[in-house]
Amino acid sequence: MRHLLSIADLDVDVIEQVMTLTDSFVEVGERRIPKVPTLRGRTVVSLFYEESTRTRLSFETAAKRLSADVMTFSVGSSSVKKGESLRDTVQTIEAMGVDAIVVRHGSAGVPRQVANWVEAGGVRVINAGDGAHEHPTQALLDCYTLRERLGSLRGMRIAIVGDVKHSRVARSNIAAFTVLGAHVTLVAPPTLLPESLVGWPVEVSHDLDAELPKVDAVYLLRMQQERQTEALVPSLREYTACYGLTARRAELMADGAVILHPGPMNRGVEIAAEVAECPSSVITRQVANGVAVRMAVLFLLLAAEGGDVADE
């Protein structure tokens, strides 16, 4: 694997490899000093064109626990404000001799473009979320979290609820869940579904109450305020009434079924506050596993073949 741009590029073996490596890094994270020297001397740049707290911190923590040097390119205070183009920015960073660029951008496809531009050098590119396209490390950490609770994803039924149309998390998760053998149902009003689902290995429902008793996991997507002004839903209140995971609805779920959310949550919109805190919710496990999964991804892309994962 040269870059991590899209789950669609990965086969089952690579995902399994990430899961196995993540086991080791979860163990590292539980140590008194949760740090290994694996990537000492390597430099990882986080290039975030979109505001992000958890993803950027998660990547930077992962890189630091692997002893990499971490540089943060913060767009707000940089030459981008002076009109520098994306390509020039990438070339500047590449010229500094970095090993990996973790890129987040509001436009779909930017990580792919960056990877094309750095193709001649050895720089690795990791997609940390691009527009409504993909967010592959989120999907990997979601798969890891689901395996912790459900054992395997094979044959599991997962409902993804909400704004699939604009969701990079949904696109990555649909690819990851289905390649690992799960059945995915999208639950959303037609206005929040992609215009075309040709080639998508999913079923579609507009009835959350009917789906909840059948599923092993329900994945709630963040509902953005502006979807209301775009006239995709009449009001957030109506969205919650039809598609929110309220306490009443959570009781429809089978015993042992789990609740996931990529964060940040809109409590009271797509998820009720008390549901977010209930025992079925694995939302904080997702965040914790995020660091270990990103360590696994950085390790796969940057560590020499045969390097020791947990060398202390």
Partner: protein, 427 residues
């Protein structure tokens, strides 16, 4: 026969009257002075194995001047046009400032006087192409402007478009529409469908085009004004135009080479080279465009040559401007990809667009004594590989790089002057 200063020798003349083996003699005034066997002149230009045809006419060229000279100028664009076999191009009015009044029309005509092909400006329908009030169409028509369009945007307001059409009937001019309903298209960057959904790029539905095609057909029926549909790209649009023509309405239409060769699947790598408006559509749409070109529903192939500076195309897909260059590849793409006889290809590239542009007196007419020698000499069997680096355009946004094409322009004559000889621009 007048005295020939130049003879195109050994070729086969092809125009709308048919094909015949003949030399073409050109006189000092730049007119054809003889068409026949074994003609002589002071200078001989070889056309062995080639077709000698009327020069091509492009209904849709963005020359970017005034305002965007880093992307193209009238001079560089006309050089690319001449290399592509064109002897006339219609310059789109979305310049900065827009071609929306007599003074900018005059400026472009003046720049065009020194160009390597005839440059005839299209005028904007509305002031500043803002879609709010009519531009001084009569004032521009008096300077020879025949085609009016707000290209780059469609006229959104139906009442304003109706008034423009009513007004146009008194001037004998044609309105060209960029069909795109902004309420449906806004925020979109590629064709809405399977690929936009998968790639997470907001889509532009086919209906955004078709809705305006339908509206303008209805307005043409109401007003009697001729309307020309620019760059049609969807099966639905073509079906609407087919029905309107069957009804006898004064509608004409064009399609671009990229809309009969490329589909939305090209966007898979997120390369803004494949971003264009209207967007690359589905396979079914490409099939419909080809069928429309074959059965005459679409009257002309137009390039929508849209040069953009390199750095603007090295941006995120949704930030990059739409458009592709096309003047140097249009003929070869048509001969290579359409599967039509060469007569049909030249009908689409020369005589029909010449009429729509109001240029038939000078361009696209038969190769005959007394006609201006605006000619193109084509080697129909030459194969070549598209290399954007060798283009005469100032821009390199060519989506066909590396493609092997059959059919190449060898010489281009502008009023008897060999502006292109053996594939090389002469000035």
């Amino acid at each position: 026969m007048g005295k020939a200063v130049l003879v195109i020798k050994g070729g086969e003349v092809l125009d709308e009257t048919g094909r015949r083996r003949a030399d073409v003699a050109i006189g000092a005034e730049g007119d054809v002075v003889g068409v026949g066997a074994d003609l002589d002149g002071n200078r001989v230009i070889d056309a062995g194995g080639c077709l000698v045809t009327p020069g091509l006419v492009d209904l849709h060229t963005h020359l970017r001047q005034p305002g965007r000279e880093e992307a193209e100028t009238v001079e560089s664009g006309s050089r690319a046009a001449a290399l592509g076999g064109y002897t006339a191009v219609v310059a789109m009015p979305n310049t900065e400032p827009a071609i929306d009044c007599a003074s900018v029309v005059r400026e472009v005509i003046e720049l065009g006087a020194k160009a390597l092909c005839d440059v005839t400006p299209a005028g904007a329908i509305t002031r500043g192409r803002a879609g709010v009030e009519l531009a001084p169409m009569a004032e521009m028509a008096a300077l020879g402007v025949h085609l009016f369009t707000d290209d780059g945007a469609g006229v959104q307001d139906a009442r304003l478009m109706r008034r423009a059409m009513e007004y146009a009937t008194s001037l004998g001019v044609t309105l060209g529409q960029h069909c795109e309903d902004e309420s449906l298209a806004a925020g979109g960057h590629m064709h809405e469908g399977e690929w936009s959904s998968r790639l997470g790029i907001p889509g532009i539905p086919a209906l955004a085009e078709e809705l305006m095609v339908w509206r303008d057909i209805a307005l043409s029926r109401l007003t009697g004004a001729p309307v020309h549909f620019l760059h049609l790209s969807t099966a639905g649009s073509i079906e609407l135009v087919r029905a309107a023509k069957a009804e006898g309405l004064a509608v004409t239409a064009e399609a671009t080479p990229h809309h009969f060769t490329l589909t939305h699947a090209e966007v898979v790598g997120y390369d803004p080279l494949f971003k264009v408006n209207p967007p690359l559509r589905s396979v079914e749409d490409v099939v419909a465009v080809k069928a429309g070109l074959a059965d005459g529903t679409i009257d002309a192939i137009a390039t929508d040559h849209a040069p953009h500076a390199q750095e603007t195309k090295e941006a995120p897909f949704d930030e990059a401007p739409p458009g592709m260059v096309g003047l140097e590849t249009a003929l070869a793409l048509a001969t290579t990809e359409l599967g039509l006889p060469v007569e049909a290809v030249l009908t689409l590239l020369s005589w029909r667009p010449a009429r729509i542009a109001g240029l038939a007196a000078e361009h696209g007419g038969p190769v005959a004594v007394g006609r201006p020698a605006n000619l193109c000499v084509i080697d129909p069997t030459a194969t070549w590989v598209v290399d954007p680096a060798t283009s005469a355009s100032r821009s390199r946004n060519n989506p066909f790089a590396g493609r092997t094409l059959t059919g190449r322009v060898r010489h281009t004559m502008l009023r008897g002057e060999p502006v292109v000889l053996d594939g090389e621009a002469q000035r």
